[in-house]
Amino acid sequence: MNRYIFLSEPGNRSSDLFFYIQKALAEKGLDKKIGLVRTQNVGFYSSMPVMRVIPDDIVYKDLTHENINRIIEEHFIHKKPVTQLLHKVASPYVRLENRNEYYKQFRIVLRNMGCIDPENIRDYIKRDGYRGLEKILKNKMTPDDVIDELKISGLRGRGGAGFPTWKKWKLTQEVPGDEKYVICNADEGDPGAYMDRSTLEGDPHSILEGMTIAGFAVGSRQGYIYIRAEYPLAIKRLEIAISQARELGLLGPNILGTDFSFDIELRWGAGAFVCGEETALIASIEGNRGMPRPRPPYPSVKGLWDKPSVINNVETYANVPVILDKGGSWFAKIGTETSKGTKVFALTGKTKNSGLIEVPMGMTLREIIFDIGGGIKDNKKIKAVQTGGPSGGVIPESYLDTPVSYESLQKLGSIMGSGGMIVMDEDDCMVDVSKYYLQFAVDESCGKCSPCRIGGKQLYDLLEKISKGSAVDQDLDRIKRIGQAMLKASLCGLGQNTPNPVLSTLKYFPEEYDEHIRMKKCRTGKCKDLVTYLIDPDKCIGCSLCALRCPVKAITGEKKKPYFIHQDMCIKCGECYNVCKFSAVKRD
């Protein structure tokens, strides 16, 4: 074999496409020279399926049968890339060693994504996998050496709050006793976020190796991965990975022939968002109702079954093997003064390209949205970007030149969070956006502490009032009061951050709230109670297109005469407004 094709498709089954490529290769007699592997996504769902050719580091899209034949002919036989079919954003495979400034992205966590068969441990090992762990054990490094290396690297928790990872490990290591636990938080649940799922599905061994190193550092023999049951493929891949690692002596008793033993088991979560909070997660593993408890004591001192426990999220663990392999100082060169390394984001919303990206800390939001995301679709104007999921805030266009770091985002009223990044354009209503996130947080509140349980519901209902046009000026004061109380008096991060979306939009877009409350208007038409669609008889030429498209037949008229919208039937979907070629439909 001198070349590999890694095919990345949505779903979990081998499709016709896979067999077609297999057949096509065989017909040209290339099946002995070119290996075909199904793999996890390469980070861009919007243009799946795609295929990556290794070692050429080229990604092709638009994989019709015809195009596949062309790729085989031109790329593999004539050795000339088919430039028309190149995936512009995904194509440059960025090596760890040579950071490619031009292409912006820099992959540590996603280093193996789309380049290995995640069900084959040897693929991972070939790409320097388990070298970090081997280095520790072969060089007889001490747990303190490992923690020092992490300290030099400056790695901070990628789950949201950004607590220095080495400090967390040190706290657990310092507690006497030999019953300790290493827990991986894979309870990813932000709407629109799939960083952890992709990592687990595409590179499960990186998590296992990271956890094993943590086990060595803190003196634990047992790890648990708390993973949502809604991620069956990730669960399957993890199970395969665990059994393969055990076979090779990389997990289980006496790892690599040393007296260090460590094993990992999976624990399934039932999909409660709050179980991503570490104390609720621990309660859930223990078989209790997943509700946060007050800290201190912190889990690092008193965690699972009251034993010291290290909890990190998927992305944090995925960084660890690379830091141990290449050294903490190598890692510390990437990023900003306080935020080292890279961050994976799920870039979604109104950008032209969307998908998983990994960028060095310190890159500006503008670079991410315009240089990687390709800017806004349909030549619309960007309005804001939301980071951190339902716990994060909205950042307006004027702050897009802010470099991404834990501190900078927090200063703007948002958070890094686990890495959701949703780009919004002029068609997005800020009241509607806040309502959406609040609905999520209200549904997912565990209901334990009163600020979150009652405050969230009150906030949501106040926003509902605003979006229906029945709010009064004092309601804004109520929102601010409740927001402050939740921020300060909620028990866990979920409750404390629930008001972020509404408080940040209120801060940056007060005029939109004002319009809703005083003028009873929604400029985007998203708040349907505040919108009326009318046909201007002077502009309507009676083409009947709007009437044909209206899903509830609320538009009637005679051809070539002005049409008419029956307001009592109109559901305000805006379809007529969008299809009219003569700007005859008015939104008021």
């Binding site: 209901g447 334990k448 009150q458 009061r481």
Partner: protein, 583 residues
């Protein structure tokens, strides 16, 4: 334990390091508001009212759940903290009905008190109430989800203290409510009716089933002869409702009060306790002498404990004393012996019991034996709290009442009868009499100290003329599994039984902190009420049940002898396994 230096509101204090900020502040007379924290319970940190500022952190922290540390500088009150707490309080109020005027907790409600202290004058937020009907399935308790503020104290006490797990958080977010798991009622759940939930609830969400109206009706019925009995633990607690120092003995005033309410005869459950000892000590002596393989004997005075054993340890039912509880014994004596003496029929007598307990409301119809007189032996059970309310409603000035005596013979008791009110009391009273039954002599030191006190499990070995009687006392039903598992293990392995006699009370501290006692119980209160009970014991010249001349008269003229035919018929009961869940 070491001492740390902390600053609260710029003043330096030295406090024990095992305190929370809330407890430390309380010691310094700084009051931090809270609705969920309770000294009996681990901190759930649910209400969000006790937030304080800690120098060096931007976040506010919860005073209830944060231990003090050396050098902490804490601000407990300022304008911002007031505003945050007021908002949280108003949010809680927006989820709580304004039905204070008709609420059982009116003027005794922690939320109402806080609303008054914070000077809440308007409702800033729209009312949003739970839409769920009240659970009225048991005869003891009413759980009203509309009034529940979700503080979780009841869940804590039901699960972690009592180990019953009848109550659980159900649902998420705004729909969260507290109820038995699995969409069932309390009566279909493992609930043992101990009422500790109601004693710890800060509001009126879970309360005793109020039966005062039934008592008023009974008192107005001219065809009935109303009689009443008061339990040992009530006499050291009722005074609290009228501003008396905790633990004050108000026995004489209670008798006077009940006469003025309209009861024609006033009895004392402590007499029933003496009677219980006669039967139970006889059972113990019989087992020790004739059937040592049937030991241990386990007390059965506490109906919540009876319910718990029937549900959780049905295999140990044979160890239960068949003697009825004191108030049931007194009830049947009132409707048989007393009725005959008065020339009345059993159904003419209307018997009310004043109890520290919500579970006694359940006990009065527990089995057919509770109808031994031919009719229901006890007609109504009132808790101490209900009697306090009834007193206030009657216009009687409790504090100016004279001390009166109870009616004999069912009102005369010994010191042994009254210590039933505290944990270890039944054991101590039984040992005093059993010692006499076995040896014919008086116990040298009748204060059996090792079985007293608030330790959850108390083990003691009593030497009865060379025979070592091994005893154990458990209170707070969550502690009992330790003893029961030891018995099960001994039965399984055939090893000697670790105990001969076991006393269990479902409530921590015994009946003095029962589920129906006045609110605001903590260990200080428990100690003072206990002291009151033992003071009453000391005040009595006769301190052993068998010495009670009226007990002797009752056996001599009516019952015959302990465990005799008539005694068995009237004073004993039986038990059956019950399912944990009825659905």
């Amino acid at each position: 334990m070491s001492i740390v230096n902390i600053k609260i509101n710029e003043r330096t204090y030295q406090v024990n390091e095992d305190l929370s900020i809330l407890e430390a502040a309380r010691l310094m007379q700084v009051k931090i508001p809270t609705l969920c924290s309770h000294p009996d319970l681990s901190q759930s940190a649910a209400c969000g009212l006790c937030v304080v500022k800690l120098k060096g952190t931007s976040k506010m922290i919860r005073a209830c759940a944060t231990p003090v540390e050396e050098g902490m500088e804490i601000t407990t009150h300022d304008a911002e903290l007031f505003e945050i707490r007021k908002t949280v309080l108003e949010l809680i109020l927006s989820n709580h009905p304004n039905s204070c005027l008709t609420c059982q907790r009116n003027q005794e409600c922690e939320l109402q008190r806080l609303a008054a202290e914070f000077g809440i004058r308007e409702e800033s937020f729209e009312k949003k109430l739970r839409d769920k009907p009240a659970d009225t399935s048991t005869t003891s308790l009413i759980l009203d989800p509309v009034k529940c503020i979700g503080c979780g104290r009841c869940v804590e006490v039901c699960q972690k203290v009592q180990n019953v797990f009848a109550l659980e958080f159900i649902g998420r977010g705004f729909k969260m409510r507290i109820a038995p798991a699995g969409n069932i009622t309390l009566n279909e759940s493992p609930c043992i009716k101990c009422g500790q939930c109601s004693a710890h609830c800060p509001v009126g969400a879970i309360v005793e089933k109020d039966e005062t109206a039934a008592v008023w009706t009974g008192l107005r019925n001219e065809k009935l002869y109303p009689v009443v009995q008061i339990a040992p633990a009530t006499r050291v607690a009722l005074g609290e409702a009228f501003g008396l120092e905790t633990g004050t003995l108000v026995t004489g005033k209670m008798y006077a009060l009940l006469r003025r309410l309209g009861f024609k005869a006033v009895f004392d459950t402590s007499f029933g306790a003496d009677l219980t000892i006669m039967e139970e000590a006889s059972e113990l002596v019989d087992l020790l002498k004739n059937h040592p393989d049937h030991l241990p004997l386990i007390t059965s005075c506490c109906p919540s404990w009876v319910d718990y054993l029937e549900k959780f340890y049905p295999d140990l039912i044979e160890h239960f004393s068949t003697a009825k509880s004191p108030h049931e014994m007194l009830g049947v004596m009132a409707k048989t012996y007393f009725a005959e003496k008065q020339g009345l029929k059993a159904q003419d007598i209307f018997m009310t019991s004043i109890m520290p307990c919500t579970s006694k409301k359940y006990e009065i119809t527990r089995t057919d034996e509770m109808f031994a007189s031919g009719v229901q032996d006890i007609d109504v059970v009132l808790t101490t709290r209900e009697l306090a309310r009834m007193t206030k409603a009657s216009g009687i000035d409790f504090l100016s009442l004279p001390d009166e005596d109870a009616d004999n013979i069912l009102g005369e008791y010994t010191g042994a009868g009254v210590i039933f009110g505290a944990t270890g009391g039944v054991m101590e009273a039984a040992l005093r009499t059993a010692y006499y039954f076995i040896t014919g002599e008086k116990l040298a030191n009748i204060d059996v100290q090792p079985v007293r006190g608030l330790t959850g499990i108390k083990r003691a070995e009593i030497d009865i003329k060379g025979q070592k009687v091994k005893t154990a006392v458990a209170h707070g039903i969550g502690n009992v599994h330790v003893l029961m598992e030891e018995i099960r293990e001994a039965r399984r392995s055939g090893k000697p039984m670790p105990y001969h006699f076991i006393e269990v009370m479902a409530c921590y501290g015994g009946c003095i902190s029962g589920g129906g006692q006045p609110y605001w119980v903590n260990n200080e209160v428990r100690k003072k009420r206990t002291a009151g009970v033992y003071q009453d014991d000391k005040n009595h010249k006769l301190r052993m049940s068998h010495e009670n001349p009226f007990i002797q008269k009752l056996y001599g003229t009516y019952l015959g002898k302990p465990l005799g035919e008539k005694s068995k018929k009237l004073l004993h009961t039986d038990y059956k396994p019950r399912p944990l869940y009825y659905k």
